[in-house]
């Protein structure tokens, strides 16, 4: 059941970082869903490749071989964590920059989940204690990645201030189990403001023009004046 991540990428455990990254990108080029017209087999293979790559990277990071690797790199409770995007001046009830407070959220929404013995239960306990980086490390070490795993990962990542990764995992959890109210709840919280933004944005209508990159006219010629101003 447990697949050796090195085997998945087809590299030896002693391969250099460079070779591992190269092997990953070669596989991504073949199996990325965008180049396979949504083939479910390719998507499954890509998930497996992504998980293997992430496990290897986080394993290397755990040895602390660089300034941004390991927990510090994820900004876990560190100076980069909790900042979110554009949230620095937010109220103190929103320390993670997602428009909600994970502590409060999970003491409500998550306390009901099973905690304790199983690895997923343990990750839940870490999350409820506010130990997001610990929860994340534990989750990363697991192979069985179902909807609940993705949901917990989303919460851990958001607790660490990683909005993008959090949203990706929450969406994946809901895609896997669309009817689960807990996963939907997490996704809604993480999408905080996104839908309202989209609505207002659509009020403007999406742009349909192709803008030139820059005022190329300066370089090329001074004859075609009308083409080089922005509009």
């Amino acid at each position: 059941m447990t697949k050796d991540p090195y085997q998945v990428l087809g590299v030896s455990p002693s391969a250099s970082d460079d070779d591992i990254a190269k092997a990953y990108r070669k596989l991504a080029k073949t199996y990325h869903p965008d180049v396979n017209h949504g083939s479910p087999e390719a998507a499954a293979k890509m998930s497996e490749i992504n998980a293997a790559y992430e496990r290897i990277k986080s394993g290397a990071a755990a040895q602390g071989s660089g300034p941004y690797q390991g927990q510090a790199g994820y900004g876990a409770q560190g100076s980069y964590g909790q900042a979110g995007y554009g949230q620095g001046g937010a109220s103190s009830s929103d320390p993670f920059g997602f428009g909600f407070d994970p502590f409060e959220f999970f003491s409500g929404g998550f306390a009901g989940g099973r905690q304790g013995a199983s690895p997923l239960g343990q990750a839940r306990s870490f999350i409820n204690a506010g130990l997001f980086a610990k929860a994340d490390d534990l989750l990363k070490s697991m192979d069985d990645r179902g909807a609940e795993w993705h949901c917990l990962r989303a919460v851990a990542q958001s607790g660490m201030g990683n909005a993008i990764d959090a949203l990706r995992h929450a969406k994946t959890a809901v895609q896997m189990e669309p009817d689960n109210p807990e996963y939907r709840g997490v996704l809604n919280q993480l999408q905080n403001g996104g839908q309202a933004y989209r609505q207002r944005s659509q009020g403007y209508g999406m742009p349909t023009v192709n803008l030139g990159n820059i005022c190329l006219g300066v370089i090329l010629t001074n004859l075609f004046c009308t083409f080089c101003r922005p509009f």
Binding site: D34, Y68, G86, A90, L211, V218
Partner: protein
């Protein structure tokens, strides 16, 4: 990474389009007068937006001038000058130099090296005049290069670095010691960070197929592309929240219509154009 923060001209009133145009010409004019004609070639929409945004937040209309430039030799047009246009021009040189050097370091892009060489003298002057900004740009670019080199799978890490870079650029003035100017500087930093993170991720989304083909680093490779829109929406939501906090500090913000055209619509121009191209190719 540059050229994403533009207006959507279809949704601007002719009068607002004129104001936008004057800002763009103002930046180009400042580049020419401060850094020479070669620097004019680097004029871009992102720094036009920087000038526009700073002028709004500091409520400085700028100095109006008219000129006939190389591009428009027969028709005199208005431009906006002043200290904010000058600042945006200096930041333009700073970023254009790093962008060119980045191209050289990543892909041995000889044109990049040539561009960098052309700007080098001006870049050194800017570097000396703005130690905080130039250090931030230099350090964050170096960190980004390291993140890309080690193939970091988590997209938040590089996005945050690029956001921090942009945040420092948006803080034109952190000298003021009263409470309000401190709040304005902090607000601008938050806003720039959010916008920078958005731009970084949008750039990655647009480049995904190309990077897959060339087997290059792309932070969004592990994220299914049907999730891109939602992720970008959430990032922009953070950005407009930071903007709203600045609006609260600067009631009756000038050019707010123009700014919000850019934040709600213009920033999608290149992304939508890319999507249309992709759909056309699929058909």
């Amino acid at each position: 990474m540059f050229g994403f923060v533009s207006a959507n001209p279809e949704r601007l009133s002719p009068e607002a389009a004129e104001r936008y145009q004057a800002g763009y010409c103002g930046l180009c004019h400042a580049l020419g007068s401060r850094h020479g004609d070669a620097a004019r070639l680097t004029v871009n929409y992102d720094m036009t937006f920087l000038a526009l945004y700073l002028a709004a937040v500091y409520d400085e209309p700028g100095e109006r001038g008219t000129e006939r430039c190389v591009v428009h030799p027969f028709k005199a047009h208005e431009y906006l000058g002043g200290r904010i246009a000058d600042y945006a021009a200096d930041m333009n040189v700073l970023l254009a130099y790093h962008d060119a050097m980045d191209g050289w370091n990543d892909d041995r892009d000889a044109l990049g090296l040539a561009r960098a060489k052309l700007l080098e003298k001006e870049y050194r002057r800017v570097e000396a005049a703005y130690p905080r900004q130039s250090r931030a740009v230099g350090d964050r670019m170096a960190e980004l290069a390291a993140i890309e080199k080690r193939g970091e799978p988590n997209p938040d890490l590089p996005a945050r670095r690029f956001g921090e870079l942009m945040g420092e650029i948006f803080v034109m003035d952190d000298e003021g010691d009263d409470e309000r100017s401190g709040a304005v500087a902090a607000g601008l930093r938050d806003f720039g960070r959010a916008l920078g993170a958005f731009v970084y991720i949008m750039d990655a989304c647009v480049d995904l197929e190309r990077d897959l083909r060339s087997e290059s680093y792309n932070p969004m490779v592990a994220t299914p592309s049907d999730q891109f829109d939602d992720i970008l929406d959430v990032l922009m939501a953070g950005c407009v929240r930071a903007h709203e906090r600045l609006v609260a500090l600067v009631p009756a913000m000038r050019d707010r219509d123009l700014i919000e055209n850019i934040l709600y619509s213009g920033v999608w121009t290149r992304y939508e154009a890319h999507k249309r191209k992709k759909e056309k190719a699929a058909r």
